[in-house]
């Protein structure tokens, strides 16, 4: 048993590491092989686009100087080796657009907001959607369940931007219950005080509500369909014929049997939160990784793109690894032999 588990664990861990290695290599290569995506060139162009006087000779000289400053001299292979060397020392390098601020500093400023908001809203939507979907799929009765189903079906097709804007208009501008944007009140200094924490909660409420409303419907409908199918499986029918209590059949047979795809979905979605939610950030002026990665791509900020993507790759790989480890605990049909 333990031998099997250990073999399984090492195998999965190796797969996880290979995924991270391949993902990192691809992310390293893609921006470098796009024609013209040269950070020094982009920096010069950004100045010129903004209307800064940069006559021809000076523009060329600046381009050369920036290439040297950014450490982008040498072949792609040399840069690649340099990248891994620095990465293993825990250094992701400087951001080019925000030079010389280190990539890790920029990411660390945004990551708490993204993780705080998205982890919380993903888990809440998952819990609400999964529980209610399970009940709706198994018992399939009750006025509230029907209302919730109609609500889920109605909210899901609304484009997120419109939904977020409607919430903002209603709760921030008409009812004035919540602020119009930001992560906390303008003029406030971040600190461990109740006034700051309450301001963060108040400012985070509408973005969180918008994400939960748009997310819960999907989990609900998925779970309802899963439970409807599982309810007709032989082991559930058998349990019912054994005269087990309905609640026990529901919790221990139906829900347990239907959960694995939902858990997989949750883990993958949690892994994906490092991509941020750019629309939430735009509508609610909320800080996060979405705007950071968007700007990084637009400005050919290779190091920053690499940094954020690396977090995402590691998170998805680790999430997949954890799913592989935990699913056998939830569903006895899955074993550590990998079968």
């Amino acid at each position: 048993m333990w031998k099997n588990f250990l073999k399984y664990l090492v195998g999965r861990l190796l797969v996880c590491l290979v995924v991270i290695f391949i993902g990192t290599t691809i992310t390293f290569l893609i921006p470098r092989i796009i024609p013209g995506a040269n950070p020094a060139e982009v920096a010069v162009r950004r100045l010129q686009m903004a209307g800064t006087y940069l006559p021809p000779e000076s523009a060329e000289r600046m381009r050369q100087a920036l290439l040297k400053l950014y450490g982008l001299e040498g072949t792609i292979f040399e840069q690649y080796i340099r990248y891994w060397r620095e990465f293993l020392r825990g250094n992701l390098g400087p951001s080019f657009a925000s030079f010389p601020t280190p990539v890790l500093v920029l990411i660390s400023r945004s990551i708490p907001w993204t993780v705080g908001l998205l982890a919380l809203t993903t888990v809440i939507s998952w819990l609400v959607g999964t529980i209610l979907g399970g009940i709706a799929g198994y018992k399939n009765r009750g006025l509230w369940m029907k209302i919730f189903e109609v609500f889920s079906n109605a909210v899901r097709p609304i484009p997120y931007y419109i939904l977020a804007l409607l919430l903002l208009i209603l709760f921030a501008y008409v009812l004035k219950w919540f602020p119009t944007g930001g992560a906390y009140r303008i003029g406030m200094n971040p600190s461990f005080t109740w006034s700051y924490i309450s301001s963060v909660i108040k400012h985070g409420f509408l973005p969180a509500l918008s994400l939960i409303l748009i997310g819960v419907g999907g989990w609900f409908l998925n779970m309802r369909n899963l439970v409807s199918n599982v309810s007709h499986e032989d082991f559930v029918v058998f349990a019912s014929h054994m005269n087990l209590k309905e609640d026990i059949v529901f919790r221990s047979y139906v829900m347990k049997g239907a959960l694995p795809p939902q858990i997989t979905g949750l883990a993958l979605q949690l892994g994906m939160i490092f991509n941020g939610t750019i629309i939430t950030e735009i509508v609610f002026n909320y800080p996060g990784l979405g705007m950071l990665i968007y700007t990084a791509i637009m400005q050919a900020d290779f190091n920053l793109v690499m940094g954020i993507t690396l977090f995402s790759i590691i998170a998805v790989a680790v999430a997949t690894f954890l799913i592989d480890l935990t699913l056998p605990l939830v569903d006895p049909r899955i074993q550590y032999t990998g079968k």
């Binding site: 162009r45 021809p56 030079f99 501008y173 602020p179 119009t180 009140r185």
Partner: protein
Amino acid sequence: MLSFLAVFTAFAQEALPGIPRNEVIIIEDPSGRSLNPGRFNIWGGGVTSWSTGLQQLCLASLWYIDPDQGIEGDPWINLLAAEPPIYSDNYKKMTVKLRKGIYWSDGVPFTADDVVFTVQTLKANPAMTWGAYMEVNVDKVYKTDDYTVVFELKKPNGRFHSIFTVRWAACYIMPKHIFEKVKDPIAFDFNPPVGTGPYVLKAYDPNGYWFLWELRSDWERSDLGVAFKTKPGPKYVLYKGVASPEKKVMDQMAHELDIIHDLPPEGAITLAQTNPYCVTWFDGWPWAHPDPTLPSIIMNHERYPYNLKEVRWALTLAIDIVQVVLQSYNGCATISPIHIPPTGKYPEWYFDKIEGWLKNFTIKVGNKEFKPYDPEIPQKIANAVKYAFGYKVPDDPNVLKKMIGYGWWKYAPDVAEELLKSVGFTKKGGKWYLPDGKPWKINILCEAATRSVMTRAAVAIAEQWRKFGIDAQIEAVEPSMLWQRMNYGEDPDTVYWAWCIETWGGHPDLFWFLESWHSEYYRPTGQAVVAKNPMRYKSERIDKVIEELRKTDFFKEINKLIDLGIEYVKICVEDMPIIPLFSYNVFTVCDGYYWTGYPTAKDPYTNPVPNWANTRFMFIKLKPTGRK
């Protein structure tokens, strides 16, 4: 949608803690979010937003050229300098006299040492912003007394002062007493910033959404205080990033955003029609402020068939400008048939002088001469706007000219057809074919989302060309992608809808953008263009104009500069290297609920567009309305 928002959002409020609303002016930072908010070292790079007040309120340069009339009626403004630069006869030396009595915000006097130190630091670090320019141009820099700086240049350059003359931005002067203590001038964050401007940074959002500035208690010793002896109106200035246009409208309806940087036309018009306190550049149609920037169809001359003048002219005559203006700008564009933006004082310097020539200008079509210029276009636009949108338009054609431009090229698809046939194109079944028999396809690469008017204009142009028989489509991409691809010019069958002509607005010299059109800076397709010649245009006649401009004094030979500018315009009209359409009109919308004194077309003392450093002068004109 925007009208709906306006109705429902009238009175929402969120005040700044401890600061009365009527003491703070809230201005949009169009960058949205500054990703590196704690960095203020504008020379070292890595400052991700230049619209946070740093270049508007804190740092300063020697001179400013206002794109409009200028705060005292002269667009040339001496700010840190006491007078314009003094060049030696051979333009190898520039002497600058500095203003006395200006102090940095930390109480240290501003002197020639600061200017010398700035230039020496930049010259030693070419990777710094403006560093390469100093390295390329400056041989020596030294002071002769505490308020006189001498620049010895490596080669004659009568435009050297341009680097210290703000048009949107310029090289700012760094405080020597701060930077001389720093080991690495690039790595240093310069936080908090110390400037000669009238405001100091009070607080900023570590997440980059807002920056709050406070009026210096010794504002009389700031650059504005010494130069104009007038106290700025707002005690506080808050720059705030607001990314969504709907939110900007809602915030201004709630009087929580005093200056919106730019909006899609319908957003600005909604505000103008529903907010009784709304202030726009024109008090009615066409509302927007024309920037000295000229969006144009840019064609790579190294790509067939755009190397042919007949093709470029045919494409021009296949555009119905009235329709493009209606579809893109709701009729609020300021059109230009020539390769100069129709803004600031350019109508007087160039348009008035060239219009007679334009009316008589002909192009050869077969054996006939065709006069392509149509001076009636502004009237046609006004009529269409009146009919389509019901806006009130002036009857006086001269007033109309000042608002939306002088004229444009005739919509003449029949002439365009003849031009194309003369170079071997054929038309079958209403579709155009290249001389080799392949269908003529054009992909218009344009901006997406960020500037909706640009995307809409591209759609309108593509529609016109399709109607004419060309297989034209648009491809909307993010601005940086557009500029990147345009600069390399490698996209097949593609023209670019962007700009490469930008001018001072308040000075007739065109050297600022035109220098890089000289063939010595020409770069072939596949190599990044050096500056403003993405069309890869090469003309011996233009080279001669540029060479003459180099020899012409920026200050003493204004008439010659204008004559050379007119010569440039004539060459461009004949060759049509790019197709100019209209200036980039910015829908900057101000709210007069708490503040009054905004610049407008009636009192055009400066550019109201808040990301321009020139808006610095607005603060001494702004006064509270007294509302609380």
